[in-house]
Symmetry: C2
Subunit: 256 residues, 2 copies
């Protein structure tokens, strides 16, 4: 098995398409780095929106590592980064060292890859994995709770389940609030403003077997949507699907 340290080495070397499946049992994290002047507003945004933005770690101004990535460097240990200026995506880089700034505060936010492990361990279906696709993600018409400079729509990921496993999927993911927890919506895509379940805003469209129910979980791309809606002067994020693999164990964030 890949260790978290080895997974971060792979990310540094470059060429990883996704971190999904690496270092089973360890938490992966979304990343967003913002100038210090936005730090309180963003941390408050996360506190008010814990389902899409469960903060699992913060690197203070000037810090580039922490106990989540011992001996690592946040500027290089993610496979790819997105750079935003005034809310516009202006660049995508494999190494963020040259674009990094000393005044950045870095927020690490739990990723649903963790509860996918738990669903898989319980024999539940992950249709996107079975079909060799990235999970489909949708921008909804549900607004997050604003905080200071930040507001924007809730982004969700979708994983369909057969009727006899819907309750299991709720029960199991409920145990992982630090990686988005229980679904925010079960069934009726139109109820959260999704006009066409076959046209995701991010990730890939997947086939939903007859009789299966679409289940929607809050998604760690929500902070990127907040950046695009709220237009802070500068931000660096991970690229979707290319996460930070941390030394935190999945079991560390499990609740009863």
């Amino acid at each position: 098995m890949t260790t978290p340290h080895q997974a971060r080495e792979l990310a540094r070397k470059g060429g990883l398409v996704t971190t999904s499946g690496l270092a089973h049992g360890y938490l992966q994290a979304n990343m967003i780095a913002l100038p210090r002047e936005y730090a309180f507003d963003f941390l408050l945004f996360a506190q008010r929106n814990p389902k899409p933005c469960p903060v699992v770690g913060v690197l203070e101004e000037g810090e580039v590592n922490s106990s989540l990535l011992p001996g690592g460097d946040i500027r290089t240990d993610i496979p790819a980064y997105r750079v935003f200026r005034d809310g516009e995506l202006v660049d995508e880089v494999d190494d963020a060292t040259d674009v990094w700034r000393d005044d950045l505060v870095t927020f690490l936010i739990g990723c649903s890859f963790t509860f996918e492990n738990a669903l898989d361990d319980a024999g539940l279906h992950l249709a996107h994995i079975d079909q060799g696709k990235n999970v489909p993600m949708f921008v909804t018409n549900v607004q997050t709770t604003p905080a200071g400079a930040f507001a924007g729509p809730l982004v969700v990921s979708m994983r369909p389940q057969p009727a006899n496993r819907v309750a299991d999927a709720v029960r199991i993911t409920s145990r992982y609030p630090s990686v988005h927890g229980a679904p925010v919506h079960v069934g009726d895509p139109a109820g959260i403003g999704i006009a066409d379940i076959n046209s995701p805003d991010y990730g890939d469209a997947i086939d939903i077997p007859e009789g299966w129910t679409p289940m929607f979980w809050a998604c760690g791309v929500t902070p990127q949507a907040a950046v695009m809606a709220s237009r802070p002067s500068f931000a660096i994020t991970h690229s979707p699907g290319k996460m930070l693999v941390t030394d935190m164990r999945d079991t560390d964030v499990q609740v009863p």
Copy 2:
């Protein structure tokens, strides 16, 4: 039964010795208000120390109410307030209107009165209540994780249980991470630097029945200990045992 609104009215009128037992089923909160310049550091301190500092709401600079206290006023709706300057307790007042400042950001932190309801509902013993006392609280030799300007010792509350109910007390309180969750320490008081279990630093000494195990939960007085240790220029807190009664239901913060 008292509603949260009625409980806040009682607090405004003055003379409440404690809010314990008021508005069963609704969450009570610790309060700390700090000047805006300390807001990010304190919210980060809370994020890094979720067991003693589970944030359930934040009033931004200039706000004196929120959906947690509809129609209320944070400056009057707590029975008593403590005022700190440079880490020193300088005053205790029933109404904080005159000492309030426009640059304060107010943090509301879950209180263990909520899981006491759940323990009581399950037939568990609450020795301090049976004995008509305030819960005993101890400053430990365990240090919180520092963040920016804030550091200090972990404060715990102690509730002893008979051997056959220790597991139940763990299991039940685990379901309420927003009000301190599972105990941080079970047994051996010396292991967290408590020299004399009969001399609490706050609250009252209680009799521990023969054969019962002392159980220690992280306590919402920890932020006050951090203020005393870290000496921010100004802070207003609630007085221990005199909490804000919120409109949030206990069930809103329950995990599976």
